[in-house]
């Protein structure tokens, strides 16, 4: 799956940024059927997926890169226990359309870096234009969130041919996932290893060790 032009890279957004907790933690609201032509499939915003968030000035061709590490359902009527007019959505669409649009799915995104795209829409092929870790710039409210394609994921982690000085594969943000105090990040880290393993066959043994290290910290160490 390669990107032929920049427009392709935009693909279909899955939602927009609606809130942030910090420089690296964001909440995005997933489009519901009313806002998009194509409905958003749940696998497009699955737990552990890589996403990019466009910066307002897209001429820079830099995008924030993040991982979906949490989700939340919003229900405005939660807590109001009054009698219901209708018992299912098909009836609700008729009797109370406002109510439906106020319900929302939010996804938690943790920013893990940023990446520049070339004029032709391809991501930068080597270490130039990539940053892993906390990105320099925050995302903005209303910015669109796109799922990352496989080649974009590969590009984000590929830092040039492996050499004496450095290996080809870089996952410098992984310790950030492991050391952060909120719960689901280690599981998200395991999910990203699932995605990287087939992409970097030369590094399968290395990734296995990293996985083993996370699993040990997750499952055995707390029991000791």
């Amino acid at each position: 799956m390669t990107l032929n032009n920049f427009a392709d890279a935009y693909g279909n957004p899955v939602g927009v940024i609606v809130k942030s907790d910090s420089h690296i933690r964001y909440w995005a609201q997933i489009y519901n059927g009313n806002e998009t032509v194509l409905p958003v499939e749940p696998q497009e915003y699955a737990f552990g997926r890589y996403v990019r968030v466009e910066y307002p000035n897209t001429a820079q061709r830099r995008q924030l890169i993040g991982i979906i590490y949490d989700s939340m359902l919003l229900n405005p009527s939660f807590g109001s226990l009054g009698p219901r007019l209708a018992s299912d959505d098909s009836q609700r669409a008729i009797f109370s359309p406002d109510y439906l649009s106020e319900r929302a799915v939010l996804i938690g995104i943790i920013a893990i870096g940023s990446m520049e795209y070339l004029a032709n829409g391809e991501p930068s092929p080597d270490s130039i234009g990539k940053e892993q870790g906390a990105p320099s710039f925050a995302a903005e409210l209303g910015a669109k969130v796109f799922p990352l394609t496989e080649s974009e994921i590969y590009a984000f982690h590929f830092y040039g041919e492996s050499s004496e000085a450095a290996p080809a594969l870089h996952i410098a943000y992984i310790s950030q996932l492991l050391s952060a105090p909120f719960g689901l990040l280690p599981q998200a880290a395991l999910r990203i290893l699932d995605q990287l393993e087939p992409m970097f066959p030369n590094y399968q043994r290395h990734l296995k060790i990293i996985r083993r290290n996370i699993l040990w910290k997750q499952s055995i160490e707390p029991a000791r």
Partner: protein, 563 residues
């Protein structure tokens, strides 16, 4: 002081486990901050900047990898760290402990502990070889009284020579201790070479129970020495005298009653009593005092015996006579009424004498050593006290140094050996009389503890045996526990030198000898192969001689009739 010119080693973290230790942090990119290496920090003392030298005692990887990173032998943990964003070139940070030795005060000639550890955050520098060569060694190369033993072990050969102070060694004694095969005799050879250099010209005797020092003969014909002598416009060439076993004689009149008792073992009390009485009577005779024979002693004893229990005495005297005869009359190899080693043949400035004792039995070796040590000690004592020679012996007008191989044999722990007493006396008083002793032993545990602790300079090499390690730790105060921990790990030719002859204990690589080493172990398989080949060759020749056709036309050999 130009701070930029010095090589930075790291940054001080804070005090260490003990008051004289501190910890610093370093990435050590060149991998030079090894165990035993030297670093320094600066302090202000009396308006002067002093460099306080410290020795690295421990080095731990402060950023160790999790065990899981080490779980796949095909994958280097640095690579995993690199993938996770930790650059390979800085994958380690070391926390290094260093023991403060002090700054070297040239006026005092010693290290002064400032009792001020470096401040946290302050820089620590790598001590360069020139600085160490100056601070660690007492003397400069080619000084009178200097001995170049080797180089600092942690540096490249030749970078930081270790020069020890021969003045100390020849007055306050030396011990060379190590397990067998660690290079003691080799080091002793180096010491002798240094003692014989034009700037030392020592008077040395080696008591050599194994006869392994004869290769020192090469010293008399070394181009290196000749060149040095020419440079100094002297005609000095060292002399080496290797005594023949037949020359190693003890004049009977130099024996004391204690020696006699020792040489005639298993005497009954009665026999001892009679021996003493007879000996006293004999030596009271001025004619016999200076020259007696075994027969004279026997006669004195039998003349003296008798009295109340005459009958008892005859058998006792008979047994005693038999013992004396066996030791002093039949065994004329060692004991002689007149001949003995001439002190002035043995001891001469610029001469190294070797006394091979390998043809003597244990007791005779001990008595030879004891009588010689005693005579030499008295000779020095009289010379220093400006007294005339007595007992027909000479005085010695210059200091002497005696190296004793297999010292545990002459000064054993828990055994009464005749040479022990005189050795103890020389070790205790030799300094006053210019008489130095060097003891070499592979069994410090079997060496008398007092004797060992009297040696103020110690050369300790590889020691594996725990009893011996403890013996060294107990009697050698100058070496810290931390240095002694290295003993089993030392390789052949590596030595910890400590005590009076160096400024601080130092780990040294013994230099190459200029003469050949005579104590090399025997290569048994090589010898077997050679002697086997020689034998088969001889057999072949014999067979050829008997079966080969005559090679001369004269027909002296007739062809064997074939059966």
């Amino acid at each position: 002081m130009n701070g930029m010119a010095h090589k930075l080693a790291g940054t001080t973290k804070g005090p260490g486990d003990t008051p004289h230790e501190f910890i610093f942090i370093s990435t050590d990119p060149e991998n030079i901050l090894k165990h035993g290496e030297y670093v320094w920090y600066a302090i202000e003392k009396n308006n002067k900047t002093q460099r306080v030298i410290a020795r690295i005692t421990e080095r731990v990887d402060a950023h160790g990898y999790p065990d899981t990173f080490l779980s796949d032998p095909l994958i280097a943990p640095q690579d995993i760290a690199a993938i996770m964003g930790y650059p390979r070139e800085q994958s380690t940070i070391y926390e290094i402990s260093a023991a403060i030795m002090g700054y070297f005060d040239t006026d005092v000639g010693a290290f002064i502990n400032p009792w001020i550890p470096p401040l946290p955050g302050s820089p620590v520098f790598f001590a360069d070889s020139a600085m160490l060569a100056e601070a660690l060694s007492r003397k400069r190369q080619n000084d009178i009284g200097s001995a170049w033993i080797g180089d600092l072990l942690t540096r490249e050969p030749g970078d930081a020579p270790i020069i020890i102070d021969m003045t100390e060694i020849t007055s306050s004694h030396l011990a060379v201790i190590a397990s067998t095969g660690s290079g003691k005799s080799y080091l002793a050879g180096v010491l002798i070479e240094e003692l014989m250099r034009p700037y030392n010209r020592a008077s040395v005797l080696i008591i050599d129970p194994h006869g392994e020092y004869s290769t020192l003969q090469e010293l008399t014909d070394l181009a290196e020495f000749r060149a040095a002598a020419e440079q100094q416009r002297t005609a000095y060439q060292p002399e080496v005298r290797i005594f023949k076993p037949a020359e190693v004689k003890v004049r009977l009149s130099t024996l004391e009653i204690g020696d006699l008792r020792y040489l005639l073992p298993d005497m009954t009390e009665k026999q001892q009593y009679l021996l003493e009485k007879g000996f006293k009577k004999m030596t009271a005779d001025p004619r016999l005092k200076k020259k007696w024979t075994g027969r004279d002693l026997i006669q004195a004893i039998s003349e003296n015996a008798g009295g109340e229990n005459e009958r008892d005495d005859t058998s006792t005297v008979g047994a005693l006579e038999w013992k004396i005869e066996a030791r002093f009359i039949e065994n004329t190899l060692t004991f002689d009424p007149v001949d003995h080693l001439d002190l002035r043949d043995i001891f001469k400035p610029g001469q190294c004498s070797v006394l091979p004792l390998h043809e003597l039995d244990d007791r005779n070796q001990q008595v030879v050593a004891a009588t010689l040590l005693r005579r030499a000690f008295r000779a020095r004592e009289r010379s220093v006290q400006k007294k005339e020679p007595t007992d027909g012996d000479q005085n010695l007008d210059y200091p002497i140094f005696i190296l004793i191989e297999e010292a545990h044999h002459f000064a054993p722990a828990k055994a009464d050996v005749i040479s022990l007493r005189i050795l103890k006396q020389i070790l205790a008083e030799g300094r006053k009389f210019g008489m130095g002793i060097g003891l070499i032993s592979q069994r410090p545990g079997k060496l008398d503890a007092d004797v060992l602790s009297q040696c103020q300079t110690q050369c300790i090499m590889r020691i594996v045996n725990e009893v011996d390690q403890n013996a060294v730790a107990a009697s050698v105060e100058s070496v810290g526990h931390e240095l002694l921990q290295n003993l089993p790990a030392l390789s052949k030719g590596q030595v910890i030198i400590s005590g009076a002859a160096v400024n601080t204990p130092v780990l040294c690589r013994v230099r190459k000898r200029v003469t050949k080493h005579g104590g090399a172990s025997i290569d048994a398989p090589m010898n077997w192969v050679e002697s086997f080949n020689a034998r088969t060759a001889a057999e072949q020749r014999r067979n050829e001689a008997t079966s080969a056709p005559p090679s001369n036309t004269m027909g002296i050999y007739r062809k064997r009739p074939t059966p």
